[in-house]
Amino acid sequence: MTNIESKIVEIRKLTYAYPDGTMALDGIDLDIFEGENVGLVGPNGAGKSTLLLHLNGILRTDSAVSIFGLTPEGSNLPLIRSMVGIVFQDPDDQLFMPTSFDDVAFGPLSMGLGADEVRARVEKALLDVSMSDASDRIAHHMSVGEKRRVSIASVLSMNPRLLILDEPSANLDPDGRRSLIELLKGMNVTKIIAGHDLELVNELCQRVIRIDAGKIVSDTLINA
């Protein structure tokens, strides 16, 4: 699994400070390979979300990051963003369109796909998260668990090769959390799961990276 060909994320000495001076990342070195399920754990404010935002070029520094062999900048961005799907922590940020259909169609339409292809992808993505009947539903009429599923569908419709989930179990009740774990287990795509739900990470990931104060403090294989 660990040959050069299948390396999809390469980060070298990534240091990032927010404009207000907060040092969020401090010398991160990280490689991620195709097919891995990586857990990214650490306390609040450790820099997990900041690191994830570097993986699709939302945040940038000089050439410390390479995704699928591409530098996330300029004309590479549309391609990178179609290959890297980020599901944000708060579904109310992720779902910004009036109906589920529009939300799930947003990515594919931005990629410039044709109407029939978009329709097919939306249908498939909603089916994959067992929300087929939700295409006309409005986000504020859905439960947190349902919103989370539609959020996931909203990036699945872009057929990402790397799926990134930021605190996927936040605000879920035990049932919702359980069915989310089952859903993610069934997905055959490279995943990075950030959060502090260790149990969920243990169940879904083979590799756990622990970060604290912007530094990687451990990188271990589990369930091997």
Binding site: I58, P78, L95, F96, M97, P98, A105, S110, I138
Partner: protein
């Protein structure tokens, strides 16, 4: 959470609910237009418009009481604009009254002007209430979008609709948090706390905007919000709009 502040009853099912939102919008706006363009003295025409609305309400299965109550919001405006008309408009006098030192005279033209404003405002308001309570707001926006209303306007309205409940929810939880911590305290203290809350609320709204923008960019947003048109007209829609508009023309031409 279930919220229906803007479009209560719009998620029910009825003949009217199932019509295409564009057809509904055009039909009800035509109704408003006909009402406005009918001379005030055509009393029977207004009666027929009213009857038509009653039939539409009956088909829509929306409680008539709800429609009436919603439409009453227009009354204060009508009163402000129209109430003094009978007294200040010159013309044929219908009667003179005196209240202490002040003399009033009510004129026929003035009364007609008030009636004109009143009946048109009421009927228009009822039409639009029937439209919004039989059409989900999102479908209405979709309809307007395919009818080529300005995209920016549609986008702003759709964000407003999407986030108004999120904001209301945030405000509620802030208020609960404040109230459960502030036992007693003077008026001054409360005002300060509320001012603080408003400030925090604006910062949160701003941050929300930032995060939503990031989420949009992550899915390839490049400045245009794209949607697919999934609306389809069918025969029923055409029949509906043609028959209502034919009725409107008949009323306008023949009722005096």
């Amino acid at each position: 959470m279930e919220h229906h502040f803007l479009d209560q009853y719009s998620d029910r099912d009825s003949l009217i609910h199932r019509l295409d939102p564009r057809v509904k919008a055009i039909t009800f706006f035509s109704l408003v237009l006909f009402v406005i363009l009918t001379p005030a003295a055509s009393f029977s025409a207004f009666g027929f418009y009213g009857a038509l609305l009653i039939i539409l309400i009956a088909f829509s299965k929306v409680p008539p009481i709800f429609v009436v109550r919603r439409s009453l919001v227009i009354i204060p405006f009508v009163v402000i604009v129209g109430l003094f008309m009978p007294f200040i408009k010159g013309g044929r006098s219908l009667g003179n009254y005196s209240l202490g030192a002040v003399d009033f005279s009510v004129t026929y033209e003035g009364v007609m002007l008030f009636w004109n404003i009143f009946i048109k405002a009421m009927l228009s308001c009822i039409s639009l209430t029937v439209l919004t309570s039989t059409t989900r707001f999102v479908d209405l926006l979709k309809g307007f979008e395919t009818m080529h209303l300005p995209k920016l306007l549609i986008m702003i309205l759709s964000f407003m609709y999407r986030y108004i409940y999120v904001f209301i929810g945030e405000l509620m939880s802030m208020r609960i948090a404040k109230e459960s911590r502030s036992a007693g305290g003077g008026k001054r203290f409360h005002l300060k706390a509320i001012a603080n809350m408003v400030g925090v609320f604006f910062i949160r709204a701003y941050e929300r905007g930032e995060r939503v923008y990031l989420a949009m960019c992550s899915r390839g947003f490049d400045g245009t919000v794209r949607t697919l048109n999934r609306l389809k007209l069918n025969a029923r829609d055409i029949y509906f709009s043609f028959s209502v508009i034919a009725l409107l023309i008949t009323i306008r031409c023949f009722a005096k």
